[in-house]
């Protein structure tokens, strides 16, 4: 059976897996953004924590993804088999690019602009929300874009701990030694990644200030 025949005969199943995959990615990204962006903002006013926060986020990224899923399974509350564990792992993965880009975007502005803001008597909070944040938006979005593309890929591994998604086909295909089945998972995942990259790229350019 070639890949197109497999697609045709399993389209309902593939579509359901794609939807599952997308849900996994969206929930994980929403949580990662909700943690990463405010944390990045906080690091600007509390620079002492910068090294620690970025180091911790980097460590999560260095753990091989399959191992991370495995480590989480025995943990109470966060762990176990299924979607919840997968989301925790995906959030930990997505955190670094979001946190790093938020922090770098907020602090890497033209010093002349920051000095002018300070010299005009803006408070630290006013500088953060009226100057730093609007000017860093497209940079932060670039981090979210990177994280989204990574998450769509890593989410395929979530099938290994029973979280479903497009990875289901990939693992099944590997077990069956069937390229057609692997591709049934891999192609939609790749298309999702490309689509997300394109859409977020458009948004990023639209929000760029200079």
């Amino acid at each position: 059976m070639n890949v197109w025949q497999f697609f045709a005969s399993h389209r309902v199943e593939i579509l359901a897996a794609t939807r599952e995959h997308l849900t996994l990615v969206l929930i994980s990204m929403a949580i990662a953004v909700a943690i990463g962006v405010p944390l990045g903002l906080a690091l600007v006013t509390h620079p002492r924590w910068r090294a620690v926060a970025l180091a911790v986020a980097s460590i999560f990224q260095t753990i091989p993804s399959l191992a991370l899923f495995g480590f989480l399974i025995p943990l109470p509350f966060l762990g176990g088999i299924g979607t919840r564990t997968a989301i925790v792992a995906l959030v930990l993965y997505a955190l670094l690019p979001i946190l790093r880009n938020t922090y770098v975007g907020l602090t890497g502005l033209d010093p002349a602009i920051l000095e002018a803001a300070e010299a005009m008597g803006m408070t630290e909070e006013q500088i953060l929300f009226r100057v730093r944040l609007p000017l860093a938006t497209s940079f932060i979005l670039a981090g979210i874009r990177t994280a989204t593309v990574i998450t769509i890929g890593v989410a395929t591994i979530a099938a290994a701990i029973g979280a479903g998604g497009l990875g289901t086909f990939i693992f099944r295909g590997v077990a069956m030694v069937s390229d057609a089945v692997i591709l049934a998972g891999a192609i939609p995942a790749a298309l999702l990644a490309l689509l997300a990259d394109f859409l977020l790229g458009v948004l990023e350019r639209r929000l760029r200030v200079v």
Partner: protein, 270 residues
């Protein structure tokens, strides 16, 4: 209340402008520590009176920009003190102090995500001026710097030329009607023609608004043209303090170097 009590015991006091400097440096020293301690400024004492335009002249690294930043506390002096309106700057609420001081820098520092109107009206907005007053102030300061408010208000800084941006920088610094203007090489990044044009306009403007101004420059001609008093800094110390007319007659070594390098001869100040 303090001022009144002071006046009562000192009835002979002349106009406060003559006796009380607007800005005063008292034996100021500033050093930074990177690998070892490096002295940027030392033994700086200076009184700047209301309405004066002080040209702080010096080579790169002479400490002139640092001296400027000590006034609005972008830097804090290591020892000695800086007074603004008779109050040590460290006793000022820093936000209040800065909103009373207009600041203009070479790179302009306009906010790229703000329109010209938002840029110019920032400090009045932060100070919660009523909208109508902000509106009329916008028109006023834009007129002062020779730009049509209606035409430019909605534009973004990137749509303007370098000279126009610099004018907006001046308008923004003037917007909240500060008593003091600090200018850090405001005309440095401009082409010679635009620079000469803006310098001429600045002279006219300075007469009109009569602010106490401190202007940092490394250009002797600019210092002589715009300053009512020229202070020469070298390696963190004041080495000369003269009127533009007297400056060219100085025998001081660094002053001579500047005069020779600028190809100016005594008497050429006008």
């Amino acid at each position: 209340m303090l001022t009144r009590a002071h006046e009562a015991v000192n009835p002979k006091r002349e106009s406060p402008n003559l006796t009380q400097p607007t800005i005063e440096f008292k034996d100021v020293e500033y050093h930074i520590t990177i690998m070892d301690s490096r002295r940027i400024l030392s033994g700086i004492s200076l009184k700047i009176h209301q309405g004066e335009t002080i040209a702080l002249l010096g080579r790169s690294g002479s400490g002139k920009t640092t001296m400027l930043k000590l006034i609005n506390r972008l830097r804090n002096c290591s020892s000695g003190e800086v007074l603004v309106e008779n109050q040590p700057v460290r006793d000022w609420d820093v936000i209040r102090l800065r909103r009373r001081i207009g600041y203009i820098i070479q790179e302009v520092g306009l906010f790229p995500h703000f329109t010209i109107e938002q840029n110019v009206c920032l400090v009045p907005g932060l100070e919660n001026w009523p909208a109508a007053k902000i509106e009329s102030r916008l028109n006023e300061v834009m007129q002062l710097v020779g730009l049509n408010a209606a035409e430019y208000a909605g534009k973004y800084p990137r749509e303007l030329s370098g000279g126009q941006r610099q004018r907006i920088g001046v308008a923004r610094a003037l917007a909240a009607d500060p008593a003091i203007l600090l200018m850090d090489e405001p005309f440095g990044a401009l082409d010679p023609v635009t620079r000469a044009e803006l310098q001429r306009e600045f002279l006219a403007l300075a007469r009109k608004v009569s602010k106490t101004t401190v202007l940092v420059t490394h250009d002797l001609r600019e210092a002589l043209q715009l300053g009512t008093r020229v202070i020469l800094l070298d390696a963190g110390r004041i080495v000369a303090d003269a009127s533009p007319g007297d400056f060219l007659k100085l025998d001081q070594e660094v002053a001579r170097e500047f005069i020779t390098a600028s190809e100016l001869l005594p008497g050429a100040a006008q």
